[in-house]
Symmetry: C2
DNA sequence: GTTCCGCATGAATCGATAG
DNA sequence: ACTATCGATTCATGCGGAA
C-alpha cells in the first residue's frame, strides 16, 4: 500500500481551505493552549480563544468525512487562580456549528509535571474531546482492546467446570449468562480513561504528546489507507504515527523550523519502513481501568 | 471534642434557608444527575437542570464561609448519542453567581459499569468540580499525602525486575515505572486524579459513592471541628465520614426513608465512637498516578 | 488463619418495539 | 414524529463460603 504523508507550511486557517470536502477520516490535534503571555508558541489570549478557533473548526467540519471523527486534545489553563472557561465555551459553540460532542475521553498522565501550589495539586489529566458529524461513525473497537483483569483470567482457567455445564443447560431454558462469548477471550474493551505516561524526550516542541496518544485514536477511528489530519502539527508526532500505521496523513504547521524538521524526518522514515518492522512495534498504552 | 451531626428532612432548596451565613467549611455533595433516578428523586430533565440547580447553589454560596470549598460530584449523561452540556452550562452560570471554578478533579472509577456500544466505551470517570468563594481558601494538603504503607515498604526493599519494568499490567497498583522515586521518601503529594472503586455493597441508595471520596476532600479542605454540609444526603456517606473524622456535619434529605435510616445509624455510630478507634482506620485511596 | 472461587450487581447505553 | 419500556451487552469488586 502506498502511503502519502503531506506536510504543509502555513496558518491552518488558510491552508485548510485548500483541502477538499469530506476527505479526512480522522482529525487528531493538540492546538496551542491559551496563554496570557503572548511570547510562547502560538499563545492566544484566553478571552480570544473561542473566536480564534471557530473559523478553524468550521474548516475541519468541512473536510471531515461524514463517518469521521475529530479528537481535540486540550486543557484549560489556570488564570488568576481559577480555571479558564474557554474550553467549555468552545464545546458549546462548536455544537452550534454543527459538531456533535460525542464523548470526552480523559488522558490520565502518569508522570505529570512536578510542582507545588498552595491551592491546587499537580494537574495529571487532559481532555480528549471527541466530536463527530453524525451519530454513526467509524469505530474499530477491537483494535484497542486490552488484557483482561485477574477475575476473568481465573475464571477462564476453570471454564471446564461449572460454566461448561451451564452452557449445556442453557440450551433448553434460555437462562444464564452467555458464557460462549467469553471462551477464548483474554481481552476486554477499554474505558474512556487513557492511562499513559508523557513523553520525556522533548522534541523541541512545547506541547509534544506521547506517541501512544495519537496511536490509540488512529487505531480506533481509522483503518490502514485512511487519512489522518493534524492542523497543528508541531513536531509531527501524529504524522509519524500515522505513517508507521500505514495511514495517509496531512500535517499543517505555521512555524518554518518545525515544518523543515518534520519534512526531513518523514523522508527518512519512509526509507526505513521498507526494512523489517519489528522496531516499530507499537508503544504500549493502557486504556483500561 | 463534641461533634454534632445534624440531619434534616426536606427539600434542600428550602431547608438551606434555615442555615446562617458563613457557617459551613466544606460542601461535598453528589446531586441527582439529570433524568437519572426517576424512581428515587423524580428526575430533572437535562434542559431544566441548570435552572433547577442555580437557586440551590445560591444558598450554598451564602452559607459557605469565605475560606470554604464546594466540591460537586457530577457527570453528564448521554442523550441521543451525545454528551449533554448541562454541566458545562452549570459551571458558566455558577461563575456568574459569584463562584470561582478553582479546579476540576477527576474521579477515575476502577470498576465502571459494563457494556458495549458501537460508538463509545464504558464511562470510567466523573467530575469533582471544586468551587470556592475566594482565591484564598483553606487547604490542608499534607492530610492527603499518600503514605508509604508497610506493604509498599516491603515491596521496595526487594525491587524485582518485574517491579522495575512493570508499567500498566496491574490494575490500580499505584506503582508505575518510577517506583525508584519512592525510595527515601515517606509521602508524596497526590494529583488531581483520584483513583478508587465504586462501592458494590448496596446501601439502599442507588447513588452511593465510596467513603474514600468524601474522606479525601474532608481531610483536604477541613480540620477537626469544622462543619461539612451535604445538601443531597442520600444514604449519608458524607455525614458518616465526617463523624468518623471528628467534623460536625449537616445532611439534608428529601426522602423520608433515607432520612430515617441515616438518623438512626448516626445515633448508633455515636456510641461506637467512644470505643477504640482502630476499626475505623481510613479506607485507602490512591490519589497519585 | 489464608487463599481461592463463585456470585450478585453497579449514577450505563443502544436499538428495537410498543403506545 | 416523539416518548416509554425492555432486552442485550459487559466487567471489576467485594462478599461469603469452601478448600
Amino acid at each position: 500500500m502506498e502511503i502519502h504523508t503531506d506536510i504543509r507550511l502555513g496558518d491552518c486557517k488558510e491552508v485548510l481551505k485548500e483541502l477538499p470536502d469530506h476527505s479526512v477520516d480522522l482529525i487528531f490535534t493538540s492546538p496551542p493552549y491559551a496563554d496570557q503571555r503572548k511570547k510562547t508558541y502560538g499563545g492566544i489570549h484566553p478571552t480570544k480563544y473561542v473566536d480564534w478557533f471557530l473559523p478553524i473548526s468550521e474548516q475541519l467540519l468541512r473536510v471531515l468525512k461524514p463517518t469521521g471523527s475529530f479528537v481535540l486534545n486540550i486543557k484549560e489553563r489556570v488564570v488568576n487562580g481559577e480555571r479558564s472557561t474557554y474550553v467549555l465555551e468552545l464545546i458549546l459553540e462548536m455544537r452550534k456549528q454543527g459538531w456533535l460532542w460525542t464523548e470526552e475521553y480523559i488522558w490520565h498522565k502518569k508522570n505529570c509535571y512536578p510542582g507545588k501550589w498552595p491551592n491546587r495539586f499537580r494537574d495529571a489529566w487532559e481532555r480528549l474531546l471527541h466530536f463527530t458529524k453524525n451519530k454513526k461513525f467509524n469505530m474499530y473497537q477491537e483494535e484497542v482492546m486490552v488484557p483482561m483483569g485477574d477475575w476473568a483470567k481465573s475464571r477462564l482457567k476453570n471454564l471446564s467446570d461449572t460454566d461448561k455445564i451451564r452452557d449445556e443447560s442453557k440450551v433448553g431454558s434460555g437462562f444464564g449468562k452467555n458464557i460462549s462469548n467469553w471462551i477464548g477471550r483474554d481481552k476486554a474493551y477499554p474505558t474512556n480513561v487513557l492511562h499513559l505516561a508523557t513523553e520525556c524526550t522533548n522534541k523541541n516542541h512545547s506541547a509534544a504528546f506521547p506517541e501512544g496518544l495519537p496511536e490509540w485514536f488512529i487505531k480506533l477511528f481509522t483503518k490502514p489507507g485512511d487519512t489522518v489530519l493534524d492542523p497543528f502539527m508541531g513536531s509531527g508526532t501524529t504524522n509519524f504515527v500515522a505513517q508507521r500505521l500505514s495511514r495517509n496523513s496531512i500535517g499543517i504547521e505555521i512555524k518554518q523550523a518545525y515544518y523543515d524538521m518534520v519534512k526531513s524526518q518523514i523522508e527518512e522514515r519512509k526509507h526505513v519502513l521498507f526494512e523489517p518492522k519489528e522496531k516499530y512495534e507499537a508503544s504500549k498504552i493502557n486504556g483500561r481501568n
